[in-house]
Each structure stands twice: as structure tokens, then as C-alpha cells.
């Protein structure tokens, strides 16, 4: 239990996926203009990363690093990058179709963001981190969920700040993306304060 909590706090806050690992910068910059859309994107990312880390952990444990195959001398783990990216791409399509059919209300709020996530490097990044850190399936899911919650926190905070920045008088060259990056820099400094926690 203690390990799971440490993993969760570590990936959600201390090593925040956007602010200290630089994964998922694209949606962080692109979909953070309004708090509602940012929260929608964050929700979709939580949904997809949690499922994706569960599925990739299953595939890694039972197919790529299958004990029977390993004993026979067949090591398939080198296929992880190829398998993970394809599984994630297919999974996002599948989740989209499933939501459309069976949960139309959830699809209404998350649907538009789902395809954007396929190319989100955070999803692949989490799946690969789970393998490098040798997490078991439960730890992988917790790590995935926590990482995605970290993304949600970062993107919603950023959207809130950006709504305020709209009214400020910013030097011409810094208008647009540049001031967002400066804000991200300050947020990143703030999040560094958590680094003594674990």
C-alpha cells in the first residue's frame, strides 16, 4: 500500500508529466485556453492513460515477457515500442467507438479529445516507464492513473492562468505561445518545491 501511495504522489505531483518530464506538451499548449476544455482534455487523458497502462502492462507480462517463452529462450521484449504504439493507437479508436455506442453522454464530453490523444507522447511514455521501472500490473495502473491526474492538474491550472493572462498587457513578441511557456516555467519552479516530499 505504501509503495502504491509513493508511486501515485511521485508521478502525479513530484515528477509531473508535463512540468518536469515534458510529455504531452502539445495538448498542454493547444487545449489550455479555457478551463472547461482543459478539464475535458484532462479527463479524456486520465481515461485513456489508465486503460492504456493496464492493457500494455497485461501485454508485456503475458505476451512479450511471457515466462514460458523466456524459458524457451524466446525474448520478445525488444518489440515493446512497436507493440505499445500500435496497441495504444488501436485502443484509442476502440474506446472512442465503445463510448459512442454505450455511453453517449460521456462521449459528448470527452469524444472530441480522444483521437488527439493517440499521438500524445505521454501515453507511450507511461507505458514505457512502467516497463523500465519493472512495475507489476497494479503498480502500472496506479502509475498511469497518477501520471494522468498530474496532467489534469497541470492543464487545468494552466487554463485558469491563461484566462487571466488574456487581460494583461504583454510585450508584443511574448504574446501567444511565448507567455504560456514563461507561465509553464514558473509553474515548473513551483512544482519543484514538491521534490523533497518523497
Amino acid at each position: 500500500m505504501k509503495e502504491l501511495l509513493l508511486i501515485a504522489i511521485g508521478s502525479a505531483i513530484v515528477n509531473n508529466v508535463v512540468l518536469s518530464q515534458f510529455l504531452g506538451i502539445c495538448p498542454f499548449l493547444g487545449v489550455s485556453k479555457k478551463t472547461e476544455t482543459a478539464a475535458g482534455m484532462g479527463g479524456a487523458v486520465v481515461f485513456v492513460i489508465t486503460i492504456a497502462s493496464f492493457v500494455t502492462a497485461l501485454i508485456y507480462k503475458f505476451i512479450l515477457a511471457n515466462e514460458y517463452l523466456l524459458r524457451k529462450g524466446i525474448d520478445l521484449t525488444y518489440l515493446q515500442t512497436i507493440v505499445f504504439i500500435l496497441v495504444i493507437a488501436a485502443l484509442v479508436q476502440f474506446v472512442e467507438m465503445f463510448l459512442k455506442k454505450s455511453m453517449p453522454s460521456l462521449y459528448q464530453s470527452l469524444g472530441v479529445y480522444l483521437p488527439l490523444i493517440t499521438t500524445n507522447c505521454a501515453v507511450l511514455g507511461v507505458a514505457l516507464t512502467n516497463v523500465t521501472k519493472e512495475y507489476n500490473i497494479l503498480e502500472s495502473v496506479v502509475n498511469g492513473l497518477a501520471t494522468a491526474v498530474g496532467f489534469l492538474i497541470a492543464i487545468v491550472l494552466m487554463a485558469g492562468l491563461r484566462e487571466k493572462i488574456e487581460y494583461n498587457d504583454i510585450p508584443k513578441p511574448f504574446q501567444g505561445t511565448a507567455i504560456v511557456l514563461v507561465t509553464a516555467c514558473l509553474m515548473s519552479i513551483a512544482f519543484m518545491g514538491f521534490s523533497g516530499m518523497i
Binding site: 515500442t81 512497436i82 500500435l86 507511450l124 513578441p173 501567444g176 505561445t177 511565448a178 515548473s188
Partner: protein
């Protein structure tokens, strides 16, 4: 100008992925804490880009249009795996410091972007040179940003102490995560000024197409993506 040299010039200067097109921002932020990391990341991306352009261009008439994207991803992911193993074998320390960002070359928008917009429409040789030019442009960009951050953050260049610590206090924040955002912010601001100057001169630079613009038009996956955000401003596409 010779068309192959033109591709190199295009990648290195005219449509430099880091400075002009602003593509591949995730690796740019993540690995430029030192010049050597930037150089290593740039070169490994170049290798993947050249070979992916070669293969995709060679198979461009065989790959059916409907499964284009998955096919490209498989090609790129295989090449990235090869590069990853080569780096683990011959440059283990660099491989350790780049970590998860090497396999993440797969989702670098430069690679799928070039596959989609150039290699899948052009013959093999120009595609190779296109990949080489773009890759070297990316390498130069990452190395320069890495040099800048390393110099300010540690007083070093490629690991050699050039600013003596007896009088220079390293601004450590530059080699840490916030420094990456700050340097990129300043780069975007400087490029905004340069862009305006060039517009006034009548020689406009190519528009940035990456995620830095906050829309999906320049994304390599935009052909298959169904969740495209409508661009606030039109972005010039090829």
C-alpha cells in the same frame, strides 16, 4: 541549385524544424540540458528520419492509402528500436541520460510529418536528402539550445568547464526543467521578432506548424485524426 542540395538547405535553414517550424518540442525541451544530449538526440532522430524516409518513399506505391498511418508507424517504430539497441551497445551513458526519450522518437511529429508530407509523394533519393536536411536541422537546433543552457547553467561546453567557477556562479535553473521552458519561451519570442522583420523585408519565413501553434494543422497525424481542432489562424501547408 541542385535539388538535393536544395533539400539540405531547406531542412537546415529555410524550414529548420527547431527554429522555424517549431516541431518536435517535447524532445527539444526534455533533452537539451546539455549540448551532448542535444547532439545525441538530434543524430539519433536524423538516422531514424533518413531511413524512414527511404523506406516509406521506396514503398510509397505499395502501401494502400487507407492503412498509410499504421504502416508508417510500424516502419518508424522498428527503426527506433534498432537505433535504441545500437545506442545501448555503443553509447551506454548517452543512452542512459536520454532514457525514455529515445523510444519516444516514434511520436516525434517531425518524422511522421516528413513521411506524410514529403516521402510518401516523392522518389527515394530526394526523400533521403529531405530526411538528412531536416534531421541535421533538428540536430543543429538541439545542440545550440543545449550549448546555451549548459553554458549558463553549468559554465560548461560539451562537459568542459569554460567559465571558471572562481568567478562564475552557474545559474543552475537553466539545466533544470523550468530552464527548458524559459529558454524555449525566449526562443519563440525572438523568432516572433525575426519573423516580423523578415515579413517587413518581403521575405517571409515559413509558418510554424508544430504543436507550438496550438492547432492540429501541422501535426503529422492530422490526416487520420478525427478530432481536429479548427485552427484559429490558417497555417500554410505544402
Amino acid at each position: 541549385m541542385n535539388k538535393y542540395l536544395e533539400r539540405l538547405y531547406n531542412g537546415l535553414i529555410k524550414e529548420n524544424p527547431t527554429f522555424v517550424l517549431m516541431l518536435g518540442m517535447c524532445p527539444t525541451l526534455a533533452v537539451t540540458s546539455s549540448a551532448i544530449n542535444g547532439l545525441g538526440m538530434g543524430l539519433s532522430t536524423t538516422v531514424v528520419l533518413v531511413f524512414s524516409n527511404l523506406l516509406i518513399s521506396a514503398f510509397r506505391k505499395v502501401i494502400p492509402d487507407g492503412v498509410r498511418m499504421p504502416a508508417f508507424i510500424v516502419v518508424v517504430a522498428s527503426l527506433v528500436t534498432v537505433v535504441q539497441f545500437i545506442m545501448q551497445a555503443y553509447t551506454p551513458s548517452l543512452s542512459d541520460s536520454l532514457g525514455v526519450y529515445i523510444p519516444l522518437i516514434v511520436v516525434n511529429c517531425i518524422i511522421l510529418g516528413r513521411a506524410e508530407s514529403y516521402a510518401s509523394k516523392n522518389p527515394v533519393l530526394p526523400s533521403i536528402f529531405d530526411g538528412l536536411g531536416m534531421g541535421l536541422g533538428f540536430t543543429v537546433g538541439l545542440t545550440l539550445i543545449g550549448l546555451f543552457r549548459e553554458l549558463l547553467g553549468a559554465g560548461q561546453i560539451f562537459g568542459f568547464q569554460v567559465l571558471s567557477l572562481s568567478w562564475f556562479t552557474p545559474i543552475t535553473i537553466f539545466v533544470m526543467a523550468p530552464g527548458a521552458f524559459l529558454v524555449l519561451a525566449c526562443l519563440v519570442a525572438v523568432m516572433n521578432i525575426v519573423r516580423k522583420k523578415m515579413d517587413a523585408k518581403g521575405k517571409p519565413l515559413a509558418a510554424p506548424t508544430g504543436c507550438i501553434t496550438g492547432d492540429c494543422a501541422g501535426c503529422g497525424m492530422s490526416a487520420t485524426c478525427t478530432g481536429k481542432r479548427t485552427a484559429d489562424h490558417t497555417v500554410k501547408t505544402e
